[in-house]
């Protein structure tokens, strides 16, 4: 054990719970000056909560603070706001761009920390009336860019820069802080090409060589292995393992991250059905869904199967369904039952017999301020002309409330939706019951294929299994093909016959549910082994 004084940051026994749920358990992390720490972990492993605690994000205080100690630069700290953290010398580069597109690189790098020159009016109206010192701004921006080691004209308006350069602006902004001691990088390379990522990594190493410590969060395992001094693996809110890159390999990291399992498989179904007929064929699909972009995904789904799509958050597993359903701009070739279907047209896709249970239940799955029976029947009424009475020889299509009530009651019983009556407002239902409602809404349409996205997110355990069981039941009973995207590998492996893993917007491999857990992990982390056997080509 080295002496404690050498550490720039020590987080000791840090624990945190949100409304009774422990999300961080007794975390101990130390960072030396000039050290690059790789922080890896699945979604929900606690990476972001940990960083929020470090930065004094208001969410932490609003939910009752945290346990444990943070010692930064020799002093115990508990930042009240991110600005305090920044003032203490901690910088953060976010995954999404935070800058003003219409400003020049200089203005963005020095955003709200512009050097100023004295002006007389500031005596009366305050410092805000000092004049910007443009020359000084330019000098500092150039300095920061120089450290990054890239060619970048600081006078260019950021909007007109190549996308790859935009990320550098943010890194440069943090570098510019004179007292920067610790830099947290949250997936900084996600939008960069390989060569750009290389430059960025080089810049980060240069920075570390100057004594700045770096916490590097990335899901690109190779990058982490190549550039970090130490790797900390988080799992389920605790530090699973600390590794030294030279002593480990991707497989080991993935194992620590995803975990071992004792039994080989948790697959529920007894038989592997023999299915050969293709119902959906997707070729080179591109979807422009913010935060879930799909970059040329291709796969085939067989008729009657339950097909799983897994992967880390933000890698595009949700984009596939949203793109095909016409909810976000999509390009590519999609064939349903051998026939090409038009993209970007929700109505057409619904009419073909494809339906969607969205991950955004409250946003686009339901109308919260309308009663249950309307929510269940709206789509069917619009797409299939159900629940309508024809008046005056078909001139007027009058809504048939009785038929609506009838079918609503059927589904309330079938899916065990807990509610006062079919007229209750959806807003008042629990998350699990809302999810069931979303499914009922889709079943009413009697589709041949259903996309289901994150069906168990945010609902309690009992409802979870009921939702999954219902999906299985409808699949078996009516032969509905189901394509389920989920962040929970466990549930994918419990009910899917094949599981595709998405990484950076593409299918990185398709595995059977019985495959080893670490195989899934490696696919998610972008480690592709040519030898690895995948099924279903």
């Amino acid at each position: 054990m080295e002496s404690k004084e050498k550490y720039l940051l020590r987080m000791e026994h840090v624990s945190k719970d949100f409304y009774g749920t422990k999300v961080l358990k007794n975390i101990n992390i130390s960072v030396k000056s000039g050290e690059i720490i790789g922080l890896v972990g699945e979604n929900g492993a606690g990476k972001s909560t940990l960083m929020n605690i470090l930065f004094g994000n208001p969410i932490i205080h609003e939910t009752g603070g945290f346990e444990g100690k943070i010692i930064f630069d020799g002093k115990e700290v508990n930042f009240a706001s991110p600005f305090d953290a920044i003032n203490a010398g901690i910088g953060m580069v976010h995954q999404e761009f935070i800058f003003i597109p219409g400003f020049t690189a200089i203005e963005n790098i020095l955003l709200n920390k512009e050097p100023t020159r004295y002006s007389f009016f500031s005596e009366i109206f305050g410092d805000k009336l000092n004049v910007l010192n443009r020359e000084e701004m330019k000098k500092r921006a150039i300095e920061a860019i120089k450290i990054l080691g890239i060619e970048l004209n600081p006078e260019i308006i950021v909007k007109e820069m190549p996308v790859g350069h935009k990320q550098f602006i943010e890194i440069a902004r943090e570098i510019d802080r004179k007292l920067l001691k610790l830099l947290v990088l949250d997936e900084p390379t996600a939008v960069l090409t390989e060569s750009e990522a290389d430059i960025a990594m080089k810049a980060i190493k240069k920075l570390a060589a100057k004594g700045v410590s770096v916490i590097f969060i990335s899901h690109r395992l190779q990058e982490i292995l190549d550039s970090c001094d130490r790797i900390i693996v988080l799992k389920d809110g605790s530090v699973q393992k600390e590794l030294i890159p030279s002593d480990t390999n991707p497989r080991e990291v993935a194992e620590y991250m995803i975990g071992h399992e004792l039994t080989k498989s948790i697959w529920k179904s007894k038989e592997i059905r023999k299915i050969s007929e293709t119902i959906l064929e997707v070729n080179n699909l591109w979807v422009d869904m913010p935060g879930e972009q799909v970059n040329g995904a291709s796969f085939k789904v067989n008729k009657g199967e339950i097909f799983g799509i897994g992967g880390l958050t933000g890698q595009g597993k949700l984009g596939i369904a949203n793109g095909i359903m016409g909810l976000h701009p999509a390009e590519g070739e999609v064939k349903f039952k051998g026939k090409p279907i038009f993209l970007n047209n929700s109505k057409y896709v619904l009419e073909q017999g494809i339906a969607f249970v969205s991950e955004d239940r409250r946003g686009l799955g339901l109308i919260l301020d309308q009663p249950i029976f309307k929510n269940i029947t709206f789509t069917a009424m619009q797409i299939k002309d159900m629940f309508l009475k024809s008046l005056l020889g078909g001139l007027i299509k009058w809504s048939d409330d009785k038929a609506m009530f009838k079918i609503t009651r059927e589904y309330i019983d079938a899916l065990q939706i807990k509610c006062e009556s079919e007229k209750q407002l959806v807003r008042e239902l629990s998350g699990g019951n809302q999810q069931k409602l979303c499914m009922a809404k889709v079943f009413v349409l009697q589709p041949e294929l259903i996309f289901v996205s994150e069906p168990t997110r945010g609902i309690d355990v009992g409802a979870k299994s009921l939702v999954l069981d219902t999906l299985c039941e409808y699949n078996r009973k009516y032969g509905i093909t189901i394509i389920m995207a989920s962040s929970e590998l466990v549930e994918l492996r419990a009910i899917c016959e094949r599981i595709a893993i998405v990484d950076e917007g593409r299918i990185s491999g398709i595995l059977p549910p019985t495959a080893e857990l670490v195989e899934f992990g490696l696919l998610m982390l972008g480690i592709k082994s040519k030898k690895r056997e995948t099924i279903g080509k």
Binding site: L364, K374, Q382
Partner: protein
């Protein structure tokens, strides 16, 4: 108990309660300042019938999330066109009235269609664009009233000059055809304009019924949650267009009923600010920028017209000067500002 009261206040809305109490106070004061109670009631009922349909016309657009129709004047212009053309055609009585409505609907559909196209292009900024579309259409029509070749001596300036008069009398054509239809007289001072009220009720029923049909339902979906509507395959722009056309048509009918009851067709700049009182009445009835119902229309028109009728007479009698205009400005515009600052941004 306390919670219950709080609930009632929340449901009914504080401004409405204040205005309601104020109204009660005014009614109590009437005998003391020497105003006849029954004539006041009569005024309110007549004004209710006059203005009800104009306020009702706002409903379809609010329901599809197009916001408050500050471009109501477009419908009014269609209505005026219908009215003046029917007079030009020398149509009298109910024939004239319904001819006016028929022609007005024709124009309203065309205007509404174009207006809808425009509003679909400016999603999120509908209200401010609508305001100026309303204003500019009124001023454009001012030019037209001067230039259109109307011939009827009852409408053009008596002393040479071309163009229509600023006010045209509907007497001799279809003045009070609705008001006097099945009119019930109660005592000397009160009469109940059954025709107007029935006509308002009929249109209200039509609007209610429309929202029970497939298209109507789709429109409600669009207004409640655009993303949901998209995911149901509903053509959002089309539904919005239909609602704009519908609003414009109802407004056109509304102004004809107004003229029928009022006795005059007001041209040129008169319709310029007609959207604001209608919007204010709806908001006073409890509507918000994103949500409105027929209940809001009825409560709103009643409260708003009562205030407008009662305040001037009572207050002027107390302070011996006419504050009605000032009160109207503060009340109606204040209500709109209040509503605009309270809304959460509608999803786009």
């Amino acid at each position: 108990m306390k919670k219950k009261i709080q609930n009632i206040i929340e449901n009914f809305g504080l401004p409405r309660i204040i205005i309601f109490l104020f109204l009660v106070l005014l009614f109590i004061l009437t005998p003391f300042v020497g105003i006849r109670f029954d004539t006041s009631i009569n005024d309110i009922i007549v004004r209710f019938g006059m203005n009800g349909i104009l306020v009702l016309s706002l409903i379809p657009m609010v329901k599809t999330g197009c916001g408050l129709n500050f471009g109501l004047q477009l419908g009014i212009i269609a209505g005026i066109l219908g009215a003046v053309i029917s007079i030009e055609m020398e149509m009298i009585g109910f024939t004239g009235f319904f001819t006016a409505i028929g022609i007005a609907i024709f124009f309203a559909v065309i205007f509404g269609f174009l207006y809808g196209l425009l509003l679909n292009k400016v999603k999120g900024d509908e209200m401010v664009v609508a305001t100026y579309v309303g204003f500019s259409s009124v001023s454009f029509m001012s030019i037209m009233w001067l230039m259109l070749p109307f011939k009827s001596p009852n409408m053009i300036w008596a002393y040479g000059g071309s163009g229509l008069r600023t006010t045209i009398n509907t007497k001799g054509y279809w003045f009070h055809v609705l008001t006097d239809f099945l009119k019930i007289k109660i005592g000397n001072y009160i009469f109940f304009p059954s025709g107007t009220i029935l006509f308002f009720a009929f249109l209200t029923f039509l609007v209610w019924a429309f929202f029970k049909t497939k298209i109507g339902t789709a429109m409600i979906v669009v207004g409640s949650n655009t993303d949901y509507a998209n995911s149901c395959g509903i053509n959002v722009d089309k539904m919005r267009s239909i609602s704009v056309i519908l609003s414009t048509v109802i407004a056109a009918i509304g102004i004809i009923v107004y003229q029928e009851s009022f006795g005059f067709i007001q041209l040129y700049t008169a319709p310029l600010f007609m959207a604001f009182p209608a919007v204010a009445a709806l908001l006073l009835g409890g509507a918000t920028v994103g949500k409105a119902s027929i209940k809001n229309v009825i409560i709103g028109v009643f409260l708003f017209q009562s205030i407008l009728t009662m305040t001037p007479s009572v207050v002027s009698n107390i302070i011996k000067s006419d504050m009605s205009e000032t009160i109207r400005i503060i009340l109606s515009n204040g209500m709109i500002v209040y509503a605009l600052t309270r809304i959460t941004r509608v999803r786009t």
